[in-house]
């Protein structure tokens, strides 16, 4: 089975490519960021990324470019057909869009449209898409199901993901695609290179006596392990024979506050810093202080997270610290 993975060099993408190769898939990966990750030594799975750009190995071919340029590589499409596309490439930094207000439009909206066009032109019918719980904004419906009413993203990142879903649904309707959209909570784990846990570890490495926490620490989030994320991403589409676009929340049932998260990170590292809160009910503009997803629909397919919120965080701390 031959698949295209966009964002193959990213945190979730690296884990996905690794698992796909383990299960015998032929993988073509595209990312703009392989080099960055090698430079920084972020990832241990360097063997995957040691191929030259555009090099073809037996089961893995990597393209080092922006997905907006994917049509510069027709050779990957014309020789052998793809079964499906795992589309993960995106600018995923909500805070970055506060200073660069074009970034979500460029990478997320135009990038996803480009992938949909590739599917149309080369007749690829199946899409697995990484969306985000941030599309729900400040919904009052908690836990939040996929079909909640009045969805209002409050960040440009969330807006771009809702825009993507809208275009995916239209393409499914017009061109007969099938798409599985996964709205993730906070994914953590192996190969992670940024996000709140990495931030905490970096800060504690600099000064183990105090830890600055953005917001009031009461923001409630669901953290879940990247291996559970990949399991859902790869296996739910096999079970769910949908006709057009199907949406799944993927998260842990239990949630925790950012203060609880800090406690676990500090405990795992073995430090007891003083917490300093930056104040306010959220970490930054566009941060959603209270995200609890209803995951009943995903559970019905047989998918279930293996690791609890706490286990996922402890595993992540161990990975990140081992890689330093």
């Amino acid at each position: 089975m031959r698949v295209l993975v966009t964002g193959a060099g990213g945190f979730i993408g690296s884990n996905l490519v690794e698992q796909l190769l383990k299960e015998g898939y032929d993988v073509v990966g595209i990312d703009i960021n392989f080099a960055n990750m090698l430079d920084k030594g972020i990832l241990k799975n360097k063997k995957i990324y040691l191929y030259d750009c555009n090099h073809i190995s037996k089961n893995l071919q990597l393209i080092y470019d922006d997905i907006n340029h994917i049509d510069r590589y027709p050779f990957i499409f014309v020789n052998r057909p793809f079964d499906s596309i795992f589309h993960l490439a995106a600018s995923a930094d909500i805070r970055k869009s506060l200073t660069d207000t074009n970034i979500d439009i460029k990478h997320n909206v135009l990038g996803t449209h480009k992938i949909l066009e590739i599917m149309r032109v080369y007749d690829i019918k199946k899409l697995m898409f990484s969306s985000s719980s941030s599309i729900y904004g400040e919904t009052k419906t908690i836990p939040t199901p996929e079909d909640v009413k009045d969805i209002r993203p409050i960040s440009l990142y969330g807006a771009s993901k809702l825009a993507d879903e809208a275009f995916i649904n239209a393409y499914c309707n017009i061109y007969g695609f099938k798409a599985w959209v996964f709205r993730f909570a906070n994914v953590v784990g192996k190969y992670q290179h940024r996000g709140v846990i990495v931030d905490f570890i970096n800060k504690l490495n600099n000064n183990p006596k105090q830890l600055k926490i953005l917001g009031n620490g009461k923001q409630t989030k669901s953290f879940f392990d990247v291996s559970d994320c990949i399991e859902g991403f790869m296996n739910i589409p096999k079970k769910d024979k949908n006709d057009s676009m199907e949406i799944y929340n993927l998260a842990n049932i239990k949630t925790m506050t950012v203060k609880n998260l800090a406690d676990i990170v500090c405990n795992e590292i073995g430090v007891s810093p003083k917490y300093i809160y930056s104040g306010g009910d959220r970490g930054w503009k566009g941060d959603t202080p209270y995200t609890i997803l209803d995951i009943k629909k995903a559970l019905k397919t047989g998918w279930k997270p293996k690791y609890s919120c706490e286990e996922a965080i402890r595993r992540t701390v161990r990975y990140v610290c081992d890689f330093k």
Copy 2:
């Protein structure tokens, strides 16, 4: 009061500019299409468009360009402040996006993002936006309220409008804008130059003995008069002191089938053609066969359509025929 109108040369835009000037506003209009409309003799209100491009008159200034280039005209922003922006510019032809799959991204998504950036950069806080009932796709909730759950656009046009709303909401949240989003049903009336009524009239002019109707004629739509549309667009924001983004359906309460519409057009013209249906439950891919909007929220503000569905259609036929 000084306002910017994008899409000022379009069907709804022409009517809006006319009304704004009547009420004493200072108007800056931008459109890529003034010339087209003059060439084709579509509009009678030529006096508005006889100014040279970029000419400044006492109350009206027109810019003949794509809204994606609006930042090439800083002089309109720096000299005198704008109270608000009426953003109507869009590619509004659902069928066209079946052959040009980039058009909605370019004009609607990037265009709207450009307007939001202009608001951010030049500190303009109020936006009135023309969205569309086509975002609702094939919702099962009929009549459809603004906050209906599981909104799934089935056309690229509908997807682009939902994308626009998502970005508008995010900008409102981050930058403190206030926005009024109007989801229109089928607007008809004065200065209309395309759409189903104009199509019917053109076909009947060519051959008054038969009329080809796309679909099975049973598609149900709400047609309402452009003067009622403008009334809502201009006056609801004055009454509704919202804090961020507020959405209103604007339509007639009563709806009718495309077959009924054809009957009224033929009756008004005075012909009795044989109807030939192209078949299927919809006119084209992405057409929604059954659109009935719940307009209670708009009615609560005091807004009410003056013209019924039938009156609006008859008025439109008269306008279009007079202008030939």
